[in-house]
C-alpha cells in the first residue's frame, strides 16, 4: 500500500500556489493537513500528478477575534481550534465538536479549511459552520470572494470551489451571549465518523412554560450528501419551550434530511437516530 508516484511542490505564497494550480489544472491536488488525502493516496484511490502543499504559505493559520466574529485561518489545525481559549469562550459549539474529530494525532495535523474543502458530509466542521452561518473566504488569482457555508456545500464531496481556488479562512459570526450551543454525535467508537450528528444553537429565554427556544439552528452530519441545515425543523421548533420544540422539530425532520444507508446503518435507522439527537440537543440547549 504505497502511494503512486507524484511530483510535489510547496509554494511560499498564494501567488505561487495559484501559478501551480493553473499550470497543472486537474492533475494537481491541494495538500493541506493531508489526513484524508494521504490515506486515499496510500490506497491508490487517487493518483494526482502533482501535490501542491499549501502549508508553507504564510498567514493562513491562526485564530483571530474581531468584535462580532472570529476568523479561523484555513490552515489552523483541529487541535489548535480545540485548544483555543478564544474559541472556547466565543464559539463553544466548535470546542464541543473538536474532540469528536478522529484522534489527537490526526487533530494535530488536519486543518479546519481542509475539512471544509474536502466536504465530507459526515465531518464535524462543515455541519458546525452551517449551523453558525459561517462565511468562507475563497481566494484565487482573480481575487477574494466570500461564500456562506450554507451555500458552499453543493453535493457529495462537491463544493463551490472553482478550479484554482483555495479556502483561505472562515469567518464565523459570534452568537449572542444568551445563545447556547450543543454538539452531539453518535459514533460507534471514539473518533470514528459518526452515524449521525447534530450541531445545534438557540437562544434560551424565559417563556410561559419554562424556557422558550428562539433563533433555533440545527445542522446535521451523516444524513445527506452535504451537511444538512434542517430549516423545517428549525422553523417548527422556533419559539417553543424545549419539550414542545423537540417534538415539533422531530416531526418536521423527515422533510429536511436525506439519509442514505451506510455499511452498518440503514437510512431508516439514521433518520430515527437524527430524531433522537434532535430531542437531546434541544433539551441540552434549554437545560
Amino acid at each position: 500500500m504505497k502511494p503512486p508516484s507524484f511530483a510535489y511542490a510547496r509554494p511560499g505564497s498564494l501567488a505561487e500556489a495559484f501559478d501551480l494550480l493553473e499550470r497543472h489544472g486537474e492533475d494537481a491536488k491541494v495538500l493541506a493537513g493531508g489526513q484524508s488525502l494521504i490515506a486515499t493516496l496510500n490506497m491508490r484511490l487517487s493518483s494526482p500528478a502533482v501535490l501542491v502543499d499549501v502549508t508553507g504559505i504564510p498567514g493562513l493559520a491562526g485564530i483571530a477575534a474581531a468584535k462580532d466574529k472570529v476568523r479561523i485561518g484555513a490552515l489552523t489545525t483541529h487541535r489548535a481550534v480545540e485548544r483555543s481559549a478564544e474559541i472556547g469562550a466565543t464559539l463553544p459549539l466548535l470546542a464541543q465538536a473538536a474532540r469528536h474529530i478522529a484522534h489527537v494525532a490526526i487533530r494535530n495535523v488536519g486543518t479546519f479549511g481542509g475539512s471544509l474543502a474536502m466536504a465530507d458530509p459526515a465531518a464535524e466542521w462543515p455541519a458546525c459552520c452551517v449551523a453558525l452561518d459561517a462565511e468562507l473566504v475563497l481566494a484565487s488569482r482573480a481575487g477574494e470572494r466570500r461564500v456562506k457555508a450554507r451555500t458552499f456545500f453543493r453535493g457529495l464531496y462537491e463544493t463551490d470551489l472553482k478550479p484554482g481556488e483555495l479556502v483561505t479562512a472562515v469567518e464565523i459570526p459570534v452568537p449572542g451571549k444568551d445563545h447556547r450551543a450543543s454538539f452531539m454525535e453518535l459514533a460507534r467508537r471514539v473518533g470514528d465518523y459518526a452515524i449521525v450528528g447534530v450541531a445545534a444553537l438557540a437562544r434560551a429565554g424565559a417563556g410561559k412554560s419554562g424556557k422558550a427556544l428562539t433563533d433555533v439552528r440545527l445542522a446535521y452530519l451523516g444524513v445527506g450528501p452535504t451537511p444538512m441545515l434542517a430549516t423545517q425543523a428549525m422553523a417548527a421548533a422556533e419559539g417553543k419551550p424545549a419539550a414542545d420544540a423537540a417534538a415539533a422539530a422531530q416531526a418536521a425532520l423527515d422533510r429536511d434530511l436525506k439519509p442514505t444507508a451506510d455499511l452498518h446503518t440503514s437510512a431508516a435507522a439514521k433518520m430515527h437516530l437524527a430524531r433522537v439527537l434532535t430531542g437531546r440537543a434541544l433539551a441540552a440547549l434549554a437545560a
Binding site: Y8, R10, G34, I38, T55, V104, A105, I106, V109, V190
Partner: protein
C-alpha cells in the same frame, strides 16, 4: 516538477539529509532510509496508530505524512525517546503491568501515552481510555495499558512531574 526532493529532517536530535521520493511517507523514510524500525505499519491508512511519531513535538500518524512534508522539521521516534530517557517512567510502568504482548503497537502506544502525560497529566481512567483510543492493540484487553498509563501519571505527579 520534482518527484524526488532533497529533504533535511532532524531525527532524534541528528540532522539527516536524503534525496527522497515525494511519495515516500514519513514512516517509510524512517524505516527504509534510516533503519529506525520502531515505528510500525499496521494499516497505512491512519486508523491503527502503530506508526505514531512526533513531529515538532506533536504526535502524528507517520503514514499520513509525507517525508517531504517533514522537511526542516524535528521528528522524534520511539528510539529517540527511549535513549533520552523521556519515557523511562512509562516504559517501566508498561513493563511492570505487562501492558504489551506482541509489542507491535507498543511504540505508538507509548507515543500517545507520553502526549497525554505532557498535556493532561491529571487525566482520569476514562480520559486515558479516550485519549488512547486512536491506537489499536489486538493482544491485551487495553486494561493493562490503561493501568500502566495511570500508574505512570500518578508516579510522575508524586515526583513533581519532572518532565
Amino acid at each position: 516538477m520534482e518527484h524526488t526532493l532533497e529533504t533535511t529532517i532532524t531525527v532524534n536530535g541528528t540532522r539527516v539529509t536524503r534525496r527522497v521520493s515525494a511519495r515516500q511517507h514519513l514512516v517509510d523514510f524512517l524505516r527504509e532510509e534510516l533503519g529506525l524500525t520502531g515505528a510500525h505499519y499496521g494499516c497505512e491508512h491512519g486508523v491503527c496508530g502503530a506508526c505514531t511519531v512526533r513531529v515538532d513535538g506533536e504526535i502524528v500518524r507517520g503514514c499520513l505524512m509525507l517525508a517531504v512534508q517533514a522537511n526542516g522539521r524535528t521528528v522524534d521516534t520511539i528510539e529517540g525517546l527511549s535513549d533520552s530517557g523521556e519515557i523511562a517512567g512509562l516504559q517501566a510502568a508498561f513493563h511492570r503491568r505487562n501492558a504489551l504482548q506482541c509489542g507491535f503497537c507498543t511504540p505508538g502506544m507509548l507515543m500517545a501515552a507520553q502526549d497525554l502525560a505532557r498535556t493532561r497529566p491529571d487525566a482520569t481512567r476514562e480520559e486515558i481510555r479516550e485519549h488512547m483510543s486512536g491506537n489499536y492493540c489486538r493482544c491485551t484487553g487495553y486494561h493493562a495499558i490503561v493501568d500502566a498509563v495511570e500508574d505512570a501519571l500518578k508516579q510522575s505527579a508524586q515526583t513533581g512531574g519532572k518532565r
